[in-house]
């Protein structure tokens, strides 16, 4: 069986600078895969390449064994690859419900309908409400995205990605900027996602990484330094020097 998401020799250059350098990455079906590395390692650029928001200089991206390197970002979402953004990218004046419905209706294909009121999209709304419920946003359905507390906005980011019913979900620092207690809560929600959803997440909090990841890839200067099970990574001297600052990582 082919990996849920795979890259082969993926490279991205900004002029002379190689932000992503020959990355071979394989996200297995059902993965809980963490991507870690120091700032500027090229993690977000890699996610941009995976999702089609940037085109690689060389190399290829395979989604479920199919080469999607030349497939547009929007088409990749339709094929089951969704992402969240490190910096909130929401619809400020749409309510929580409207935002999620907007994402759901793209998947179901009803977004082109112009002849009937939105209120008639009953199934889409119920699904959106269910997603909100799952992320603890039920009480905020009618609130404009811009009026949400920051932590709730992060949850809405995840909700928008889930609305695409992804087979592969890329989470770019989902807990960035929210207090630790809340970030643990966020990861509880992520942890409860169905096992069929393969997840790749970028995270700086090592506690969370070691608690949720079953596989870890370490990226530095655009290259894969090493990858393996959390225990192997924790024991790897290069990684500890490079990233963990020699500190003993806490196990969850």
């Amino acid at each position: 069986m082919s990996a849920a998401l795979e890259t082969r020799g993926l490279t991205f250059e900004f002029g002379e600078f190689r932000a992503v350098d020959g990355v071979d990455l394989s996200i297995e079906a059902g993965a809980r895969h963490a991507l870690i590395g120091p700032n500027g390692a090229g993690k977000t650029t890699l996610v941009d390449l995976l999702t089609g928001m940037r085109a690689p200089t060389r190399g290829s991206v395979l989604l479920g064994g199919e080469d999607v390197t030349r497939v547009s970002a929007q088409q990749r979402v339709r094929r089951g690859l969704a992402r969240t953004f490190q910096i909130n990218s929401l619809f400020p004046r749409l309510s929580v419900l409207e935002s999620i419905v907007a994402a759901v209706q793209e998947r179901t294909g009803s977004a082109w309908r112009w002849w009937q009121p939105l209120a008639a999209s009953r199934a889409e709304m119920e699904e959106a409400a269910a997603i909100a419920e799952r992320l603890g946003l039920r009480a905020e359905l009618g609130v404009q995205s811009q009026a949400l507390a920051y932590g709730k906005q992060r949850l809405l980011e995840v909700a928008l990605a889930l609305a695409a019913r992804p087979r592969v979900l890329l989470l770019d620092e989902p807990a960035a900027g929210i207090p630790q207690a809340e970030s643990a809560e966020l990861f509880e929600v992520i942890g409860r996602l169905p096992v069929e959803v393969s997840i790749l997440f970028i995270e700086h909090d090592m506690d969370l990484v070691f608690r949720f990841a079953r596989r870890i890839t370490v990226l530095a200067a655009g290259r894969v330094v090493t990858q393996g099970e959390p225990a192997e990574i924790a024991a790897n001297p290069t990684v500890r020097e490079l990233y963990l600052g020699n500190a003993e990582p806490a196990h969850g």
């Binding site: 999702t51 928001m53 547009s72 970002a73 929007q74 979402v77 339709r78 969704a82 992402r83 953004f85 990218s89 929401l90 619809f91 400020p92 004046r93 749409l94 309510s95 929580v96 419900l97 409207e98 935002s99 419905v101 907007a102 994402a103 209706q105 793209e106 998947r107 009803s110 977004a111 082109w112 309908r113 112009w114 002849w115 009937q116 009121p117 939105l118 209120a119 008639a120 999209s121 009953r122 889409e124 709304m125 409400a129 359905l141 009618g142 609130v143 404009q144 928008l160 990605a161 609305a163 695409a164």
Partner: protein, 325 residues
């Protein structure tokens, strides 16, 4: 009613305020029988601004050349009538189709760019069309305008009379029908998707939305609306001049929509009415003076009073509600 129990969802039910709004032009027909030509001009401008609000207010596309489509519609209707087809309704449809075709073709140039690109592309297209009309006097009549536009009776029954009664009611009916359609569109799933694009176009591909196709679609619809507005002007005045393509016509749209309020459907028609009535009232006194105060008003509005007249109403209402608490 479906959708109940889902907060934050806009209900498309007609409110009392909306009904009052639509009663006003009907009342005006009886109260101001001698001002019906001005009334028709307002209704046509209202339709034209409505077309503009569809792209600016609901999809975030800014344009300085929307008169291109107004002009296309105006000349299409004029040429049809000049060459023997004076039936008004089919004239409107054909004008809409022509404007929509050109709108669709040029949409690919417009939707990909950013704001400045869009301003220049739209402005450029309007200038080109205006100049083309100027340089083809054999077809358009050039600077003299197109003479000999003869309209048949509306529905075969109502002559376009000298007082402008038929013209006024015709323009009102068309405005209402197209407004109803636009209202349906903005409250639809497609409308939500357009608002999503306006709010954050970068995010839309990440939820699987084909942004450029959506924008092309709404731009095409908007062009068709503008074409109908232009055709109405030709049919009700039985004349077309180069002015229909002019830059002021495009620029005034921005003023009207700012006055009324962007992205609220009613803002456009309201802004059109305020602008045109004020201009009519002040123009008799002193045209320069009118522009001076218009300038003051515009600056004040965008700095202190965002959201136009509709925004002010909303603010007033929430203040009152607070007082009454």
């Amino acid at each position: 009613m479906t959708g109940a129990g889902f907060p934050g969802l806009r209900h498309p039910r007609w409110t009392r305020a909306e009904m009052v709004f639509w009663l006003l032009p009907v009342l005006a027909f009886f109260v101001f029988p001698h001002h019906l030509p001005l009334g028709s001009q307002i209704l046509i401008a209202a339709l034209f601004v409505l077309s503009f609000d569809l792209i600016l207010g609901y999809a975030g596309i800014i344009s300085l050349g929307h008169a291109a489509f107004f002009g296309l519609g105006a000349y299409t209707a004029g040429l049809l009538a000049r060459h023997g087809w004076g039936e008004p309704l089919s004239g409107l449809l054909i004008a809409a189709a022509v404007a929509a075709c050109v709108g669709w073709l040029t949409s690919f140039l417009v939707v990909r760019g950013q704001d400045l690109t869009r301003l220049m592309v739209t402005l450029g297209i309007a200038l080109m069309l205006g100049e083309a009309a100027n340089r083809l006097p054999g077809i358009t009549g050039g600077a003299d305008g197109l003479l000999g536009v003869q309209m048949w009776k509306l529905l075969g029954l109502f002559e376009f009379d000298l007082y402008g009664r038929t013209a006024y009611l015709y323009a009102l009916a068309v405005l209402f029908a197209l407004f109803w359609l636009a209202r349906r569109l903005v409250h639809s799933p497609l409308g939500l998707s357009l608002r999503g694009i306006r709010e954050n176009a970068q995010r839309m591909p990440a939820i699987g939305a084909p942004v450029t196709q959506r924008l092309s679609a709404v731009y095409t619809i908007s062009a068709a609306y503008a074409g109908v507005a232009g055709a109405l002007l030709t049919q009700t005045t039985q004349f077309v001049g180069l002015e229909v393509f002019s830059f002021p016509r495009s620029a005034e749209l921005l003023i009207m929509i700012t006055l009324g309020g962007v992205g609220q459907l009613y803002g456009g028609p309201l802004g059109a009415a305020i602008f045109m009535i004020a201009r009519e009232a002040f123009a008799d006194v002193n045209p320069q003076y009118w522009q001076f105060w218009l300038g003051v008003l515009l600056v004040a509005m965008v700095l202190f009073w965002r959201g136009g007249v509709l925004g002010a109403f909303a603010l007033l209402r929430s203040r009152l509600a607070e007082r009454l608490k």
